[in-house]
Each structure stands twice: as C-alpha cells, then as structure tokens.
C-alpha cells in the first residue's frame, strides 16, 4: 500500500518535471534587394555610397566587416535609398565584406575593397641595435613602416628614399621598395668610431633622423712599459705600468673608461691583479715594490682575454747585510741601510725564529731591538734572524 502511494506521488513529480516548451515557428517576409555601387573599390577615407533597391521593402541591417573591423547601418523599408559610409568609417584599408541581413537570413553579400593612400608624414622608422662596434662584423638595421594618413599600411611596390650620413662629406642615398608593408636597410659599421645618421623620406613625407653609435672594437697591439721603476724591493716605492695608446684595427682610440686588468705573475703563478681604466687610449696602474727580491711578469687583459705581450719587472734586495750586536740584555739590529745608504723603510719587519717560536719587531730609523728576557734565548741555541729578504743565523754566545 505504501509502495503504491509512493508510486502515485512520484508519478505526479515526474509529470511536472517532464513539461516541454513548444517550439515557436516564426515566418518572416524577406525583401528582394539589389545593390548599386559606383565602384567596388574606393580609396581610404572616400565616401562609399551604396544604392539599395528593394522589392517588397522592409527594414534590414547592413554590415561591413573585415574580420577585425566592423561597420553597420540600418536600412529603412523604402523602395530606394542610398546608404553612405564616409571618413572616419572608411579610413581602414583592406578587403571588406558587405552583407545585408534580415532576421536569420543574409540577403546580399558582396566584396568591397578600400585602397590605402600614398605615404604620409611621419614615416615611422625603427633602428636597432643602436650601438655597434666598428669591426664590420656587427650590423644595425633601419626599418621603415610607412603609412597613409589614416594609419594604413601602404601598398607594396612604393619606394622610399633612404639616406645615411657616414661622415660629414659622405652621404649615401638610395631607394628601397616597400615589401610586405615595410622597407629595410642593413647598416654596416663604419671604420671610424663616429656616429652615423640615417633618415627616410618620400616626396611628401619624412622620418625623424636616427643615430647609430659606432664604438671602437677590441684593441690591437698592446705593449706594456714601466715608469718610475726603483729596482729594489723596499716595499715603499711604486712602479707605474702603462699601456701604449690603445687602438682598434681601424686606428680608433679605445674609449675612455674602458677597464683593463693587470695581472702579476711570480714563478708562473698569478699573485695579484690590479684594475686600470683608459684615459685617452692609455691605461696604467701603480704597483708597490715588494719587500723582498722578486721577478714579476705583468700581463694585461680586457674583457677576460689577455692581449699583448707581458713585461718583466725585477726587484733586487734593498738591504745588503744584516748588522747586529748582542749584549747582556738585548739584541740590537741595525743600523740597516739600503742601496743608497739610506735607512731601510720604517716598519720593515725583523723576525727571530727560536726553535718553534717567532718574535717580530719593526724597524725605526734602521734600528730594531729584541729584549732577551722576553724571548728566553738559551746559549748555544741558534736563532734565525731575517729582514728584507736576508737571513742570518746567530748565537747568544758569539
């Protein structure tokens, strides 16, 4: 019984849930339409007049479209009327499709062609890269995308005049045909590191002037030389290492501010690296003399690669001999004099090595003093004394 009642309830639920809408069948009257156009081709911005002649007149819609751009008009239910499109509606060039539509039907379909006008001001030009080396391997490019006064791409086959000014007296002019809506020219680098100016024109239109900057290429023929070279390892003087005037393969001076690295090699190992920048094509660096005798080889690099030959710089020991005296309380080192009879640099380190102990003092006016009670030096024990690259073994009971 319960099951039966539920069946009845579900029957009604089903009945209500199964309602269906009836299809509405619409029948329309369609006019017969004939179009008259002066021409199926017009120029951009011109007036497009379409004479619409109807039998059984009825209002319709007219749509002009090229897929991206669409224009539309309502057509009244008159036997004869003229529909007009004018600028700015007709500004876009290209092939359009004209359709007259009534309800669910397209009554007429026809192609209309709008032609672009001649090139007008300004001619858009694109230049890049803006900076190129003068090594003839790099090139820049000038691209002109001319347009008509409505911004349409102009017809292929038109020509634009291009001009490049490689120097004050060298102006190169030539014509380029527009192909696929643009014209282009490959700009080769100058041999001289001078700016290059380019422009594009047409009888009634011009571009703005554009500049391509030519910068010198890698330097060639680098030579190093030294100045102010004091050939003794006194740890006080500076030696100036400088390049010749650096030029690229075409003789252009390398621009100011170009950074060079100076590498110091000792015993075939790089021990130090200094930076220098070019001023008027020359780069230099000051290197402090070592504190002991050394043979340096200095090389220059730019952009991570070594160029030119290295230069050898030698330093001999400045100190000839170590002078000292030992008394009851002290070891007195000095006077320590250099090659010119001068005291060696103040602050030069004097070192005493006793067994596994090291003691260091600095010189002042060529003298250095060790207090014996501080260093606990036993008799018969050798002490290794070193200063400015020289060494000597001394005994307390000497």
């Amino acid at each position: 019984m319960i099951k039966f009642r539920l069946h009845i309830i579900l029957f009604f639920v089903l009945l209500f849930s199964c309602g269906q809408e009836q299809d509405e069948i619409l029948v329309y009257d369609y006019p017969i339409i004939e179009l008259e156009l002066k021409s199926q081709t017009i120029l951009a911005g011109d007036k497009l007049s379409i004479k619409v002649i109807q039998q059984n007149p009825s209002s319709c819609d007219l749509v002009l479209s090229n897929g991206i751009i669409s224009l539309s008009r309502e057509i009244e239910g008159l036997q004869e009327q003229t529909i007009q499109f004018s600028s700015p509606e007709t500004n876009a060039a290209g092939t359009f499709t004209l359709r007259i539509i009534k309800h669910d039907s397209i009554l007429v379909q026809q192609g209309i062609k709008i032609l672009p006008l001649d090139i007008t001001d300004p001619i858009d030009i694109y230049v890049g890269p803006r900076t190129i080396n003068v090594d003839r391997k790099q090139e820049s490019m000038l691209v002109a995308v001319p347009q008509d006064k409505f911004g349409n791409a102009v017809a292929d086959g038109l020509e634009v005049k291009m001009a490049e000014n490689k120097s004050a007296t060298d102006i190169n002019q030539f014509y380029k045909e527009i192909e696929y809506s643009l014209a282009y020219y490959v700009i080769e680098a100058n041999q001289n590191a001078e700016d290059l100016f380019i422009g594009v024109s047409h009888p009634n239109a011009s571009s703005k002037k554009q500049k391509v900057i030519s910068i010198p290429s890698w330097p060639l023929d680098l030579y190093l030389s030294t100045e102010e070279h004091f050939a003794y390892a006194n740890n006080r003087n500076f030696v100036k290492v400088k390049t010749n005037k650096l030029r690229d393969e075409f003789g252009n001076a390398i621009p100011d501010g170009t950074m060079l690295n100076f590498h110091i090699f000792e015993n075939e190992k790089e021990t130090a690296k200094y930076n220098g920048i070019t001023i008027d094509g020359v780069a230099f660096v000051y290197l402090k003399n070592p504190y002991k005798a050394a043979n340096w080889y200095v090389r220059a690099s730019i952009g991570g690669r070594f160029i030119g030959e290295d230069i050898e710089i030698n330093f001999a020991n400045d100190l000839h001999e170590i002078v000292y005296t030992i008394n009851e309380k002290q070891i007195v080192i000095g006077p320590l004099r250099g090659q010119l009879g001068q005291y060696i640099s103040d602050g030069s380190k004097v070192n005493i090595e006793l067994m596994d102990r090291n003691y260091t003092v600095e010189t002042l006016l060529g003298m250095a003093v060790f207090e014996l009670e501080d260093i606990q030096w036993q008799k018969d024990t050798p002490a290794h004394l070193s200063v400015a690259g020289l060494q000597k073994v001394i005994y307390r009971n000497e």
Binding site: L10, G67, I68, S72, V145
Partner: protein, 508 residues
C-alpha cells in the same frame, strides 16, 4: 511584570536582533559590492583572460620567406604567436560586447581607433566573430627583434550576427598582411590589411558516404567499474581486452563508445589519451569488432567563442584516424536534442551544422551521424549527414508510426538505432522491469529493426554500480533504473537478455 509581557518583550528583542543582523548583512554586502565594482579594470582583464581560455584556433608557422632579415628563435616566435592570437581574441570580444576589452594590449593606437569606432555607434546588433585557422609565413624580422612582418594565410573566420534572431554562421577565408612591433615589451599589431580572398579550392565538397545500417549489431560500451566520466582516466586495458572478447563471443560486431570533450583533453588532447584510443581500436580489431566513436559526450557550451576549442579537438581526432578501417562512422554528438532544454535550439543546431562541415574537412572517409535522443528529432540536419541515428527506450508499439514519419522525412538515408534497451531494475521505484521483460523487449526491438532493415546498438553491455548525479541528476528513481540496463550483471553473470541476443545474432 507578568510572564506574558516578559515573553512579548523577548519576542520583540529577538525580532530587533534579526533586523539588526539583516541590516548589518546588507551594509556588508553593499561595501563588498562597492569594492568589487571599484576594481573595474581588474574585472575587465579577468573577463578577457577567462574568455581567452576558450580561444584555441588552429595555428601553424609555414616555412619562412627567403630572406627574413634577422634571425628568429623559438622563444620570440612563441611570443609573437601568443600575442597575435590574443589580439584576435581581444578584437572578437570587443566587437561582440561593444566595448574595449584589452585592445590597448594588442593594437597600435591607429588600429584601436578603427576597431572601436564600431561599438561607439548606436548599432545594437551583436556581431560574433571567431577565427579558426592561422597559418603564418614570416617575411621579416628586424635585427633587434622589434619589428616583424608576416602574412597570415587562410584565416578562416566565422561570423554570426544576432539581433532578434541570429543569422546562419557565415564563413570566410582571407589572407592578412600584418606588421607587429614590440612596444613596452609587448608585441602589438601595428598594421593589418585583409587582402584578397584566399584560395579555398582545397575545401572540397565531400560526397555522401554510403552506410549499411542493417549490418550493425552493436553494443554501447563502458567497463563495468569505470563508466561515464571515469572511463578515460582509469582505462583498464585488461578489462577492455576481456570485455571485447566476450562482446565478440555474444555475436556483436560493433562497439559504440564515448569520447567526452573535457575528459579527453579538450583542445589539447594528450598523446597519452590518443594512445589509449589507439589501444581501444586495435583491441577491437583483434576481435573483429568495428567501432563507432561518439564525440563531444556530456554537455558542452554552444557559444561561438568556444568553437575554436571544439574545432581543434575534432581536427586532432579525425585527422589521426581518417584512414582507420575499424571505424565504421563518427557519431558527432551524443543526444544533442537534450541540450534543446537548456540552450537555444538554434544555437545547438548551428553548432552541429558547423561540426559536420568541419568533420567532413578533416576526414573524408568515414560516414557521419548524430545520436539523437528522440526519434522525432532524427531528421534535423539529416541532409548533411551520411545516415540517421536515434535512441529508443519507449514502448515498441509506439515506434512504428514514429519511424514511418522519420523515414519519410529523411528519404533514402539509412537509419540506425544507436541506443536501445530496457532496465532490469526490479525494485522500489517506478519504471521497474524484470530481467525477463528486458529480454523480451530486446528481442521485440531486434525483430522490428530486422523487419525495417535497420541496425541497432544495445544500451548497455554492463550493469553499473552507480549512476553519477552530475549526469543523471538528483532523482533517485532515474539513477536506480539507469544502473541496470546491462545484459551482463555487475558480478559478471549473464542475464537472460544476453542469451537472447546471442540467439538473435546467430539466427540472422
């Protein structure tokens, strides 16, 4: 104070509290709506972005022109492709909605002025425009990768204009000459010119393909454990192999299966899914079975904007299997007439008409049909289809008259019943039938089809453990009956209808 006054006061306080809460909720919703509205720009971009997600036109780079100036790498090519396709989508959306939807991102100022003049007018029709095909031939790229020029060949656009009613879909094929420039890091269309109409002679008009419906002894197939949406994600190969063997042994010669649009990959079908499809077809071949794949199963949207994705989906599948002999036909959509209830009928029919045209382009070898849910709708678009198919689950004595109407409407087109059957659910809900009734129904319908020279495809091979709500709705009596249309029980045992089927096929 009496207890009665106390109660009244409490009731008044409760009402006041409810009013206060309602007021607060109202104020909060207004503030929230205000903030949402303020982010109008963001909304526009969100809208455009979500609509772009449906834009999947076919795209390919043709060989570059002879001297293209600079060099182009795949990354720049990809950037240009993306920007160019988005520019089309942006223009289509803007024209449809009569407002600037992202044009500034994709067009130069001059181009934008020309596009926007349309929707600044007072014309109130809606122009729906969609681009389906782009084949780009690069002519030029500048050394600094700032300017490109190319021709977009065979740009196939479809257009529909809606006022009170809508026009049929109009198709055009044109070439476009385009210059794009890189401004502020974005590729924009600087110049665009539609040129002469493209050569469309390669779109040959396909002749009708003959189809003998009477030969079809088919069954609709899902694996028992993984029906409907679960099928392609689980795809149990071993089960499919053993099921096809069983199907063959029962005397069936054709399998109808379903390829849902979203679940199978939408516009970007993975190779993995295609390999599954390969497997299914090759397994059918091993057992001398033919297949009738049914495309676009489950609801899809019929907006013109989404056509590009459907077109890509269709192209990928049909072009891959256009020479596959095991396929007897393509069923383009399962029961589209059910969509008449939820969408405009004209939109559904326009969509089907478009898909028929596209399918004929992509595969000239296989017949096409549409599996209508109701016999009364079987004549829709029949002039463009190679044979007619419908589904039938109602009383057999009501079939003959309806069949005669259909037969006279479609002329000499072959007719296939691509789904028929009866549930053997014998439970509490209405619509219940015994296994014997199921068996008798199947025998009777087969006799009818035999008499009329029709073929048929049984629904379904298996009983299923569940009928999902997202397909069959909330009604428990519908779901209960839907689970038991099979001739094989969920436990693998055969129902009486399976034996009857075997006998019918053996004797005919």
């Amino acid at each position: 104070m009496s207890s009665r006054s106390n109660i009244i006061l409490r009731i008044l306080a409760a009402i006041l509290l409810v009013c206060l809460l309602t007021l607060l909720l109202f104020i909060f919703s207004k503030v929230y709506a205000n903030f949402k509205g303020a982010s109008n720009v963001v909304n526009v971009y969100e809208k455009v972005s979500s609509e772009f997600d449906h834009h999947h036109p076919y795209f390919k780079w043709l060989p570059d022109g002879e001297n293209i100036g600079g060099n182009i790498n795949p990354f720049i090519r990809s950037d240009i492709q993306k920007a160019y396709l988005r520019s089309w989508a942006s223009a289509n959306l803007s024209i449809r909605d009569h407002k600037d939807l992202g044009l500034i991102e994709h067009y130069s100022e001059e181009m934008r002025t020309k596009i926007t003049q349309y929707f600044k007018g007072d014309y109130d029709s809606v122009i729906e425009n969609i681009d389906l095909n782009h084949e780009l031939e690069l002519h030029f790229i500048s050394f600094d990768k700032q300017v490109v020029s190319f021709t977009d060949h065979n740009v196939r656009t479809i257009q529909r204009i809606k006022n009170q009613v809508q026009t049929p879909i109009q198709e055009e094929v044109f070439d476009y000459k385009v210059v794009m420039t890189l401004d502020d890091g974005k590729w924009r269309i600087n110049k665009m010119l539609r040129t002469e109409e493209a050569d469309t002679s390669f779109y040959k008009k396909r002749k009708p393909i003959s189809f003998n419906a009477a030969d079809i002894r088919g069954v609709n197939y899902y694996p028992q454990k993984y029906p409907w949406r679960k099928f392609w994600s689980h795809f149990p190969k071993d089960t499919i192999e053993s099921d096809f063997k069983l199907i063959d042994s029962l005397g069936f010669n054709t399998i109808r299966f379903f390829i849902p649009f979203n679940e199978f990959g939408g516009p970007h079908i993975s190779e993995d899914n295609l390999l599954k499809l390969d497997f299914l077809i090759s397994t059918a071949k091993i057992h001398d079975l033919k297949v009738m794949p049914t495309l676009f199963d489950f609801p899809v949207g019929f907006e013109l904007l989404k056509y590009t994705g459907y077109d890509r989906h269709l192209k990928i599948i049909l072009e891959r299997y256009k020479d596959e002999e095991a396929i007897i036909a393509w069923d383009l959509k399962n029961e589209p007439d059910i969509d008449f209830e939820y969408h405009k009928k004209e939109d559904v029919l326009a969509w089907l008409d478009f898909m028929i045209k596209q399918a004929k382009r992509y595969d000239e070898n296989h017949p096409l049909t549409i599996g209508w849910a109701h016999i009364e709708n079987g004549s829709y678009l029949s002039e463009n289809l190679d044979f007619v198919s419908f589904h039938y689950y109602e009383e057999i004595d009501k079939l003959n008259d309806r069949f005669e109407v259909l037969q006279s409407a479609v002329g000499d087109k072959e007719i296939l019943v691509s789904e028929y059957g009866m549930t053997s659910y014998d439970g509490f809900y209405p619509g219940a039938h015994s296994e014997t009734e199921q068996s008798e129904y199947i025998v009777a319908l087969n006799n009818f089809m035999l008499e009329k020279g029709m073929g048929g495809m049984l629904w379904s091979f298996y009983d299923f453990d569940e009928a999902p709500s997202d397909i069959f709705g909330w009604k428990p009596w519908v779901k209960a009956t839907q689970k038991e249309f099979g001739i094989i029980n969920a436990d693998g045992s055969q129902k009486p209808s399976a034996t009857q089927i075997k006998n019918i096929f053996r004797n005919n």
